[in-house]
Symmetry: C2
Subunit: 211 residues, 2 copies
DNA sequence: ATAAAATTGACCAACGTAGTCAATAGCTGA
DNA sequence: TCAGCTATTGACTACGTTGGTCAATTTTAT
């Protein structure tokens, strides 16, 4: 991994992004076996030789992408989340918008990550990437959160699932529409739509007067 | 399509199911191009010659699967839904369980359908399969439903989205767990879990005393 | 001007492909 | 039993694509 990073450190950021995006696209559309390095280099606008100079083999390229995806998502969340915010709804809003921002620059990060976790269990990933922030995901919905804001009769664990799922599906739907109708990416519109759903759930799950 | 159906009518149901499941599996894991007919026949336990005797080409096989998937889902829903039921929560429960039952016998129907709609718009599908029941999906959440049961301040359209998404994600999560831990498929357990979420949303979105 | 590093793309052996078709197996009715 | 038929097989083919290499070229740094 270090060797690869050393080599990548010397090429300019835009070319690096091109390669990563192109490779993530191919690996998220095809199985590892079927994914074509020819397709990757063509879309990235580099030569076959360069790709193999940077990464050595297809396997190593894939491993680097795994490492990169995990690292960049975790870094963004850890650094940008306001850990003092005790309202889980606001916390979740923050996380979803952080991810949306990331996915703008790395359009296939979402699909690629999904595919990685489809094929490998968290343990396998932990084994290959020991610094994988497994704990982060539970911290996100637990650390310094004030659960007393929920109505007493609400099952908080289920409520959080519903909020998370709603945001994810809302984002999926939006990206589907963009892909289909060539509808423009409108950050503010997405934000507004997601907030509409979240605020509705907040009204339903929180005690009255806890806005 | 008719020619294919005539040929398929003469082979026994189990073999037909094997072919359909095997082909849906391959097409839902690989792109159309990368999907291998060799893999399909191997898993289905038939010879290459038979597959091409039944379907002619890879394209026609894929088209038949498209047709079959749409038809079987629509048939099941239309015939099994109780259209007199005015409670949308019960309606949605019914639909989700109908689908779960279907997906038990056709494990890749869900993934395959998703992929079909990823790659083609509803219009394209309508064009290729003129009897595609496009209207069914809106009927499902509108026909003979009593919206007055919702609290006045609740946005019903958003509420239905949330319910639908929750069920879908709940099912996804369950299937993921089964695939990962080799956890056994437990129909009653899934039903109970889904009902847990739906009832919670019902408590939140319906007027008090409307259970 | 020179050395070193980065980048190229034609090239290759190996492999998997969709589809074919002569041969075989299995079944039918007499 | 056997002829006639259909359903089924899988070895085979022509071909496209693959991951990876490496001598040659360009770019960069000194």
């Amino acid at each position: 991994m270090t060797i690869i990073e050393d080599l990548l450190a010397n090429i300019d950021e835009e070319k690096k992004l091109n390669i990563i995006n192109s490779a993530m696209k191919e690996f998220s559309k095809q199985s590892f076996q079927s994914a074509s390095t020819n397709t990757i280099v063509k879309e990235a606008g580099i030569s076959k030789g360069s790709l193999y100079h940077y990464f050595g083999t297809k396997e190593k390229l894939y491993e680097y992408l795994e490492y990169f995806a995990i690292k960049i998502i975790a870094e963004n969340i850890i650094n940008k989340v306001n850990w003092n915010q005790q309202d889980i709804f606001t916390r979740i809003k923050e996380v979803s918008l952080i991810k949306f921002n990331l996915f703008q620059e790395l359009p296939y990060l979402s699909d690629f990550s999904l595919k990685v976790f489809e094929n490998k269990s968290a343990e396998e990933i932990m084994h290959k990437h020991p610094d994988f922030p497994l704990a982060l995901y539970s911290q996100l919905y637990n650390q310094n959160i004030d659960y007393s804001l929920f109505k007493d009769e609400v099952d908080v664990k289920k409520a959080i699932d519903i909020i998370r799922w709603t945001i994810e599906k809302c984002g999926d739907e939006y990206r589907r529409k963009i892909a289909e109708n060539k509808m423009a990416f409108d950050y503010k519109a997405i934000e507004k739509e997601i907030y509409g759903y979240i605020d509705m759930l907040k009204d339903s799950f929180y005690k009255k007067g806890e806005k």
